[in-house]
């Protein structure tokens, strides 16, 4: 046990002496949460729009006021002719233009039917969709209000409830994603690199000739990164609760437990990579290409897995982050318990045992 502690202590010296790496390891989650939380948001807020109001009557100005009052839109320009619309889009200043025809309120009141044109910049299709939906909803709202006095013969009202995330915050989606990414990066890449470094330096040989058991060497190498990861889990959760206002709806104990499980999966993967790689660059490259990219692409964090072609959907099942991501979403956002996520938990446990066994066996083979 004393041997083990000497080793862990030495490992902490390595981390502590390399200040730059340490700050990257501990600062990365903070930076990622801040970037994803404030810069890379795909929520639509305060979009710049332009109005071409050919009617200039009471109804059109009421609708315009309401659009402006919503937090989604900000009226940037009042246009005066159709050619100006195109120019405004070309200048890249606006995301959508709203056109009221002449005789707008007259048509509405006398023909009972009037039209508004929404022109959106669909070079970003998602944003265009969201904007036209918001505008349609605001206009529909107004329409319902002026209809309260008249009885329509048949009406179907849809009532929408956004479960688990009523405000449609993007943070609910990316906090679990960032957790998966950070843990994977810290554990897998750093563990792989630090073990391969010992091989490169020749110190691993000394370890193997010493009475310390190989398995102990491996565990002692992993322990500091497990601790670092726990600090990272804590800082991500604190930031998301207090800065991004993403609540932890489920059991925090369960969440931490699952995160540690995922950390162990990542550590075993790091060990596996280290037993195959001969140089630090190789270790880093394998970690990035074989793990980081699939995690971003196939875990469901950036792109929904359900929409992918079948082969990719199948491949996504072997990406550990996919299961962890789904666990964090279930526990943190939906507030569900182990009863619902036992399958994912089991899969992660299985993966951990598989990778660990493989890593230890490869390590032994190398010795013989």
């Amino acid at each position: 046990m004393k041997q083990f502690f000497s080793f862990v202590k030495k490992e902490f010296y390595h981390i502590w002496r390399d200040k730059r790496t340490m700050f990257i390891l501990l600062g990365m989650p903070v930076v990622q949460i801040v970037i994803f939380g404030f810069a890379l948001t795909n929520e639509v807020k305060n979009s710049q729009i332009a109005i071409l109001d050919n009617a200039k009557d009471e109804v059109s100005s009421t609708i315009i006021t309401q659009l402006d009052a919503s937090k989604y839109f900000e009226i940037r320009q009042n246009l005066h002719s159709y050619p100006e619309i195109e120019k405004a889009f070309e200048a890249g200043k606006i995301k959508m233009a709203i056109v009221f025809p002449q005789n707008f309120s007259e048509d509405l009141h006398h023909l009972n039917k009037a039209q508004i044109q929404l022109v959106a910049d669909a070079s970003d299709p998602n944003v265009a969709n969201i904007l036209t939906n918001y505008a349609t909803a605001i206009i529909g709202d107004y329409q319902r209000r002026i209809n309260t006095n008249t009885m329509l013969p048949y009406t179907i009202d849809t009532e929408t409830r956004m479960l688990y995330n009523p405000q449609l915050k993007g943070a609910y989606n990316f906090v679990p994603g960032v957790m998966a990414m950070v843990l994977l990066l810290v554990c897998t890449m750093m563990t792989a690199i630090t073990i391969v470094k010992e091989k490169e330096m020749g110190t691993m040989e000394i370890m193997l000739v010493s009475p310390m058991k190989p398995i102990m060497v491996i565990i002692a190498k992993a322990v500091p990164y497990l601790l670092l990861s726990i600090i990272n889990i804590a800082s991500i959760l604190l930031l998301s609760v207090y800065v991004l206002e993403v609540p932890i709806n489920g059991s925090i104990v369960l969440l931490v437990f699952e995160s540690i499980l995922f950390t162990l999966v990542s550590l075993s993967l790091g060990l596996l990579i280290s037993s195959g790689a001969e140089s630090q660059q190789t270790a880093m490259f394998i970690s990035l290409v074989a793990l980081f990219l699939p995690t971003v692409m196939l875990s469901g964090f950036m792109f929904p897995v359900e929409n992918m072609p079948l082969p990719l959907r199948i491949i996504s099942n072997i990406v550990p982050a996919k299961w962890y991501y789904s666990i964090v979403k279930s526990v943190m956002i939906k507030g569900l318990g182990l009863k619902v996520i036992w399958k994912e938990t089991l899969i992660l446990t299985g993966m951990m045992l598989f990778f660990l066994t493989l890593a230890i066996r490869k390590f032994k083979i190398r010795l013989a």
Binding site: K2, Q3, F5, S6, F7, K9, K10, Y13, H14, R17, D18, M201, G202, T203, E205, I206, M207, L208, V209, S210, P211, M212, L367, A368
Partner: protein, 245 residues
């Protein structure tokens, strides 16, 4: 006296390749045993078997009285090892390195305290004790590395080309250290490419293509091959080698 290393027809095959072919020799306690051979002659493989890192294919051997097949754990507790690759941690201080290596051999805190102080005094490193090893000159690092390898008072210390890349003066000082530990009764098993170093050994074995072709004291070897120096002896033997890297 009972031999500390005893090898009898020790062999190692990798598939059809015979890396080490039935080598037999004995090393006495406190002896400085030179283990020579060209690159690819099988020195490293033989040494790995004696250190418990590699299981032999056939033959028998005991190291410090323990069997290389079954008692590798006991062997590891009784040997020290220093490799040709420099093996201290550059980002740890001198003292931290000593403590670490002592720690993985399970030395008690009091032992560690005493030994590290004695070692630092012996190597005149008082002013450098708290400096990072990376800032020391290579020769010092090597001396330190060797002293750390014998910190736990092993019965045998294996040195794998310990003096690669250092100047002759430092090498001479390094050998002073080797003599010192041999005087304490620690057996030194050393591989080297420098033939002047071979002259410092009590006995020398020369491996060619996996077999030991010559084994004796340097004077007797020179006599046997009617050579003036170990260099000539080595060349005479290695010339016939079919394997090289």
């Amino acid at each position: 006296m009972q031999a500390v290393i005893k090898a009898d027809k020790l062999s190692k095959h990798f598939g059809h390749f015979t890396a080490v072919n039935k080598i037999s020799f004995e090393v006495a306690p406190g002896e400085i045993f030179g283990f020579l051979g060209a690159n690819g002659a099988g020195k490293t493989t033989a040494m790995r078997m004696l250190c418990g890192l590699s299981i032999p294919t056939s033959g028998t051997a005991t190291v410090a009285g323990f069997d290389v097949y079954k008692q590798t754990e006991e062997i590891k507790r009784n040997i020290g090892y220093m490799s040709q690759k420099f093996s201290l941690y550059e980002d740890l201080t001198v003292l931290e390195n000593i403590r670490f290596y002592g720690g993985i051999y399970g030395l008690s805190d009091r032992d560690l305290q005493q030994k590290s102080e004695a070692l630092i005094t012996r190597l005149n490193l008082q002013n450098e004790a708290k400096k990072l090893v990376g800032s020391l000159p290579l020769g010092w690092k090597q001396k330190l590395s060797f002293s750390v390898a014998v910190l736990h008072e092993p019965k045998i210390v294996f040195l794998d080309e310990p003096t690669g890349g250092v100047d002759p003066v430092t090498r001479r000082q390094f050998w002073d250290l080797i003599y010192e530990v041999a005087d304490r009764g620690i057996t030194v098993f050393v591989t080297t490419h420098y033939m002047d170093e071979a002259e410092y050994c009590n006995r020398v074995s020369i491996m060619v293509d996996g077999s030991i072709e010559a084994l004796d004291t340097p004077p007797k070897l020179k006599q046997q091959f009617s050579a003036n120096s170990m260099d000539e002896v080595f060349y005479e033997l290695a010339r016939g080698a079919k394997r090289s890297e």
